[in-house]
Subunit: 351 residues, 2 copies
């Protein structure tokens, strides 16, 4: 087991990579606790749930709404949850986002922790304290930033993950290597197929190193004034692609990373050779590096993105594998580049 | 003008007592801003509003809901509010609570400030960073703690206040004197009628001293682990009384303070003479000190209060005028005392 301590602005957060979910009771404070999970997790792991009241939400992004949050508030009232009640989110990114927001706002804030059941949640949603829900199709329009007291990353949960979900997690792991750790990127190059097979030793190292990287970035900048923006590498274009409904989060981010890598070469920041290594690793991890989208529509989607400011956008680029830099790019420059890169973002149908 | 700087955990908050609302533009950061206010304030002060988009909610506690919050999120999306948008709440406690919660959660937190238009908001809601809405009759069940960057307390707003609203504010001012400042309590004894007439010099001093007292308490304990509980003096019973629908907040708190003062005498903490001074000042300020309620129903309401923990309750008592202390009281002890004090809480109709 690897234990990573994160110092948030409000309280410390302890990430336990490799800890068994069965050991959960050791980490719960004494007193009342309530589990928030989703239908899918409950179906798979009902027998392993601790002996606590369980509130279950629908599975999927469609349930990441204020209505779900409101239903949970009412269920907590019915359970007579008070300020001393601990909230335990058991699930993937959506459960963590919803449970974290409910915990951060019920009675102005309850203590909470997570058991992350997907690779994506273990390497991403579990760290950083961002929570929230969508509103009218705007992702994470409503939320707060608050760290869970602990996150348990039990590799046993990953055994039931569909391959598409594994791939989603791999995209974030690649991202963490690209923005901050060339050694981890090289390790992934050497162990790509073992990683996809979820070999425990490889996965535990990748999850733990991802958490360390993300925690380091978040620790230097919890509210995303600058440094934290690096975590958006691949995500600006990625979110826009995800909104088309064609790509999963991981696929969209992978294409976004390939595009940002190409823009980095174009701006003279990244050697062409590094760009080729990036495309090669993404492909070996079964991640896509191209998409058939109209650049004009893509840029229009970017304009609507919540990170927009007037006609410029903060864009994360690479100076090298393992070293990210944030630059401002004008929307029209981005539009031009999107149109110029047919191997990354094609205007026509896939050949 | 008196300027009070408060150091919150997230950012400093500047309270400007005696500042004119017309000077608001000096305090707004450059860039986009949106006003959140209510129908009543808009009706009275439409002409004095700054040249900004204005979102108006219904007036009154009935509109302090998640539905109102959701409507405001959508209106902000329509206005293309982004992370750089500043939210300005202009109104009383309800507007500050709702606008503060919206600002704390839209895009995971926008910058915000208040212009407090009621005496109660100037001395209470403006300081401490608590925000939120009710859910199913539970007051402030949902919310966060976040400090506004500034609060403007313009005495000109108080001229249009109905007397009942002035009395509401006075109850909190008395409370601040009772828990922390015997000198301010004595000043109020000497200037009770001038205070009720809202003589500017008297009001400015009372508001400023109230803010300093509350800010001091909050600064020592932002999340209500201990010290902040003192601000609940009179509010435990007060909230229960308020729920009966018979009393305004100020009236309910006044009766709650009279009751807590009596309990303090009974527990041997407070001299009888101080108790008499408290009842006399409340009466001179046109605040009630008795209520016709069934103690059993009152205690039942206390049990449902969000501050409940099992069968004990944290209760704020006085050791002297200007010195509060928090003690745990069993619910049955409280029930017995409520039944024993016919001059404070009567079981029958008012004689």
């Amino acid at each position: 087991m690897r234990i990573i301590e994160i110092q948030g602005s409000s309280q410390p957060s302890t990430i336990r990579v490799g800890e068994a979910f069965a050991n959960l009771p050791r980490h719960l404070p004494p007193g009342k606790a309530v589990v928030i999970t989703d239908e899918n997790v409950l179906r798979l792991y009902r027998d392993r749930m601790p002996a606590l009241p369980v509130l279950s939400i629908g599975s999927g992004e469609a349930f990441k709404t204020l209505e779900t949050v409101s239903d949970l508030y009412e269920a907590l009232v019915d359970l007579e949850a008070d300020r001393a009640t601990f909230i335990l989110g058991v699930g993937g990114g959506i459960v963590c986002d919803v449970a974290g927001f409910v915990a951060a706002t019920y009675l102005r804030g309850l203590r909470f922790g997570f058991a992350a059941t997907t690779l994506l949640a273990q390497v991403d949603a579990s760290v950083g304290g961002k929570n929230g829900v969508n509103l009218e199709g705007y992702k994470n329009l409503v939320g707060t930033i608050r760290q869970p007291e602990f996150v348990i990353c039990d590799p046993a949960f990953l055994e039931t993950l569909p391959e598409a979900e594994v791939v989603n997690g791999m995209a974030e792991i690649v991202k963490h290597g690209l923005i901050a750790d060339a050694g981890m990127f090289a390790f992934l190059e050497d162990h790509a197929s073992a990683a996809l097979r979820l070999e425990p030793a490889v996965v535990e190292r990748l999850v733990a190193e991802s958490v360390v990287i993300k925690a380091g970035v978040v620790g230097r900048d919890e509210v995303e004034a600058g440094e934290r923006r690096k975590l958006n590498f691949g995500h600006t274009v990625g979110h826009a692609l995800e909104k088309t409904g064609v790509f999963s989060h991981g696929e969209a981010v992978s294409i976004g990373m390939a595009f940002a890598s190409r823009v980095s070469v174009r701006r003279g920041l990244l050697p062409e050779e590094a760009h080729r290594r990036i495309l090669a690793l993404l492909s070996r991890l079964k991640l896509p590096v191209r998409a058939s989208v109209d650049p004009l529509r893509l840029v229009e989607a970017l304009r609507r993105d919540k990170k927009r400011r007037a006609n410029r956008i903060h864009f994360v680029l690479l100076e090298d594998i393992g070293r990210a830099v944030v630059q401002e790019i004008r929307m029209d420059e981005l539009e031009g580049m999107a149109a110029e890169f047919p191997d990354i973002l094609q205007t026509g149908p896939d050949p």
